[in-house]
């Protein structure tokens, strides 16, 4: 193996005692400290900060409007224009989900229901948000365009049970989406 000998840089006397560099750093730190005290922190505008301190004051301050279009937050179920649950519980998301966060109990739509021709919908749909890794595979695999990763990222709870999003919660987050593919139209 080839060996490369690296020469130590020659330091001048001033550099060797390094007090100069420490002092220089101290000045920079103190300058930032002073500016933050008077409300003129560097980068305050970009971080939407008050200027007192360099940190953005989350959760009082949020950066939500800066989130990109493709941001992958919590997965949620959506309904279509006609308020039909888009999910038909094909369980492909449950199958693809890498951390096994999704659990679906399929169910049959009763024959007297308005959407009886769809035949199938989830009886229960649970996503364990402790397990979810926000990978977006569920959205990608869904043949019905029923599950989307929403920009919501604040998922908190004090118990494990609270961290499981059930069907009602998922539809509440997902809401209504228009203009998606609709296989269950009048022709069907």
């Amino acid at each position: 193996m080839a060996t490369i000998k690296v020469q130590r840089p020659k330091l001048s006397a001033g550099e060797k005692i390094y007090f100069g560099a420490i002092f220089k750093g101290m000045v920079i730190t103190l300058r930032h400290a002073f500016r933050s005290l008077v409300g003129k922190s560097v980068g305050a505008k970009e971080l939407n900060s008050t200027g007192v301190g360099i940190t953005m004051q989350y959760p009082e301050q949020k950066w939500d409007e800066e989130l990109p279009e493709y941001y992958r937050g919590t997965p949620a179920l959506v309904t279509n224009e006609e308020d039909r649950e888009k999910c038909v519980s094909c369980q492909l998301c449950e199958f693809i989900c890498p951390p096994k966060a999704i659990k679906i109990t399929p169910g049959e739509i009763p024959t007297d229901d308005e959407w009886a021709k769809v035949e199938k919908r989830p009886k229960a749909f649970d996503i364990d948000m402790i397990r979810c890794i926000y990978c977006g595979m569920c959205e990608e695999v869904c043949p019905e365009e029923a599950i989307f990763l929403r920009p919501d990222y604040v998922v908190t709870g004090t118990t494990r049970k609270e961290m499981v999003h059930d069907k009602d919660r998922l539809y509440e987050i997902g809401g209504k989406r228009v203009g998606l593919v609709n296989k269950w139209n009048d022709l069907k």
Partner: protein, 585 residues
């Protein structure tokens, strides 16, 4: 060899060599193989390990050849001109002249020097064409269709489909979600008109209620007006349906098949012991399907047996050992329950105790039951007869799965013989202690509630809560048929193996553990068995009918260990159809 014999014998041609054994030479995708004369081309390809996609062909049914999916290219040697001798090449075969049009492989039989091409441009193009026609009116139901994951149309459209449809017109509308029978749901739009279900109901179930109506693209499967598909074999049509046109009401929207784990086991609802596959996810059974065994159940199973697994998963399961204290059953540890059971039994005179085993127990459990009876010194050991009516197909008149096994292990012809003596002994009060394995005495055994009250010590094992357990001093929970490895001997004398698919609920131990522990308490010389296999091995050592068998040697299809002279009616019918050439078998 004598000197007069010709130095070089005339070399025999491959066709003559094959003919000596009743075989013919067939070239499949360039390779020559020998197959029995009269083999269908599709089966010959199977022997050559070449898959020919098909929908309507089923070896157990007649071959109408109506799906056209199995089209292959066929070739035969050209017919020699008058007076011309056939020409044989260096390898001894004639040159094959390929036909310009494909033929169906399912209904044609092979011939000497025939060539079959299961691939190539012509075959690929025909398959693509057939697939495209089949998919024209097929709905995009896969996300809601129970067949998805085991659908032949899905599989072959991946292999031979175009990926997109050129059909711009409106698809034909047909009835969907039709209730045609107690267990079966029909979706006509998904049907590809293979007619397997129609042929099954006609030929095997002998209840021809299904048929086609309408013509052309409007053809649809229907039940005959005024009839319903309520036959006890109707669910087999859902199994053989290559698409999701016929689906099971019981399994409808329960679980996608790709989540389910398959366990090969056997059915225990009657003496036939039909071979089955149990489909589970986690510790829950979702469905049971038949498994092909040409010596037991062909490829079918009655609906009543198939759906009986729900019983194992109901709320009345016993989950912990219990003893009677001050008129109430309290849960105790296994050890305490076994001790209490042994205490009450061991103190009796031999003529005061009796053992009622069950024909639903496995060989291993019956072996331990017999040992328990021997340890108690009693000869009052019996199983409870469970006779019904045979349906003339697969359901045996003997509803016990292991009557034959009980007879072999007890060493008597009629293992149910002593039941009357025990019943009489209990009602007169002569028998004071009784062990009952897996039976409710008030059912088939014909005991009366007041008889049970006369007993001083009643020990019972059972999977479910029942009146006998309610009257017992000691109740031990038992594992159900899908929850244990075990062996059974069916009515024809075939030793078969059941495998464990799920785990018994609560603190339930395997039955051999419970029985082994009880025997250990009653007979100090008996060592606790270390495993299920060791119990079976001990049985094989002591009983010469089982000698030489192990859990491994039984295999998935079982082995015949004794001759009973009993036959399974459905197999006799199948044999006739096979002999007459209607089916491949």
């Amino acid at each position: 060899m004598s000197e007069n014999a010709p130095a070089v014998e005339e070399k025999k041609l491959p066709k003559d060599l094959a003919a000596e054994n009743g075989m013919v030479n067939v070239q499949i995708d360039g390779h020559w193989i020998q197959v029995p004369r009269g083999t269908r081309m599709i089966e010959a390809a199977k022997i050559a390990e070449k898959e020919i996609p098909h929908y309507c062909y089923h070896p157990k049914l007649s071959s109408p050849g109506n799906c056209r999916m199995c089209l292959v290219q066929m070739g035969m040697p050209p017919r020699p001109a008058p007076g011309e001798d056939p020409k044989y090449g260096e390898d001894g075969y004639q040159e094959i002249g390929w036909m310009p049009r494909p033929v169906i492989a399912c209904a044609n039989t092979v011939a000497e020097n025939m060539g079959i091409r299961t691939g190539g441009e012509l075959v690929e193009k025909t398959r693509e064409g057939v697939m495209e026609f089949l998919l024209i009116n097929h709905p995009l139901d896969c996300p809601i269709c129970d067949q998805a994951g085991e659908c032949k149309l899905q599989e072959f459209s991946v292999e031979h489909g175009r990926g997109e449809s050129r059909f711009k017109e409106t698809k034909i509308k047909k009835p969907k979600n039709v209730d045609i029978g107690q267990n079966i749901r029909l979706d006509d739009e998904r049907c590809i008109m293979c007619s397997r279900c129609i042929r099954f109901m006609d030929e095997v179930a002998e209840d021809p209620v299904l048929g086609f109506s309408q013509r052309g693209t409007h053809t649809s499967v229907t039940v005959h007006p005024g009839h319903r598909l309520d036959n006890n074999y109707s669910l087999n049509t859902a199994d053989i349906c290559p698409v999701g046109a016929l689906t099971s009401n019981d399994f409808r929207f329960q679980m996608r098949v790709w989540f389910l784990k398959e366990t090969k086991t056997i059915d225990v609802n009657c003496g036939t012991g039909a071979n089955t596959v149990v489909w589970t996810r986690g510790n829950e059974i979702f469905r049971v399907t038949p498994r092909q065994n040409d010596d037991v159940n062909s490829a079918w199973i009655p609906d009543s047996h198939r759906l009986s697994f729900h019983e194992l998963q109901n709320d009345s399961r016993l989950t912990a050992p219990m003893i009677l204290k001050d008129g109430k059953h309290v849960e105790v540890s296994n050890l305490e329950a076994i001790n209490k059971a042994a205490e009450g039994l061991g103190m009796r005179q031999p003529n005061e105790v009796a053992v009622i085993a069950s024909g639903r127990q496995s060989n291993e459990e019956l072996y331990l039951a017999k040992k328990i009876a021997t340890a108690l010194g009693t000869d009052l050991l019996t199983i409870v007869p469970r006779q019904g009516e045979s349906d003339g197909k697969l359901i045996s008149a003997d509803r016990n799965p292991n009557t034959t096994g009980a007879g072999l292990i007890f060493g008597i012809d009629d293992p149910t013989a002593k039941l009357d003596a025990i019943r009489e002994g209990v009602s007169t009060g002569r028998i004071k202690a009784l062990i009952v394995f897996n039976e409710n005495l008030l059912d088939e055994a014909g005991f009366k509630q007041e008889d049970l009250a006369k007993l001083e010590h009643l020990v019972t094992t059972h999977t479910h809560a029942n009146p006998t357990a309610a009257a017992a001093q000691v109740v031990l929970p038992g594992a159900g048929w899908a929850e244990k490895r075990a062996t059974y001997v069916n009515v024809t004398g075939r030793l078969q193996r059941a495998n464990q698919a799920t785990i018994a609920p609560g603190g339930t131990r395997d039955d051999w553990e419970t029985l082994g522990a009880l025997l250990n308490k009653l007979d100090k010389d008996y060592q606790l068995p270390s495993s299920m296999d060791s119990v079976f091995n001990a049985l094989a050592k002591e009983n010469e009918t089982f000698t030489g068998q192990t859990f491994g040697s039984i295999g998935d299809l079982g082995v015949v260990i004794t001759e009973t002279g009993v036959t399974i009616p459905l197999l006799d019918q199948e044999k006739k159809r096979k002999e007459s050439g209607i089916i491949v078998g």
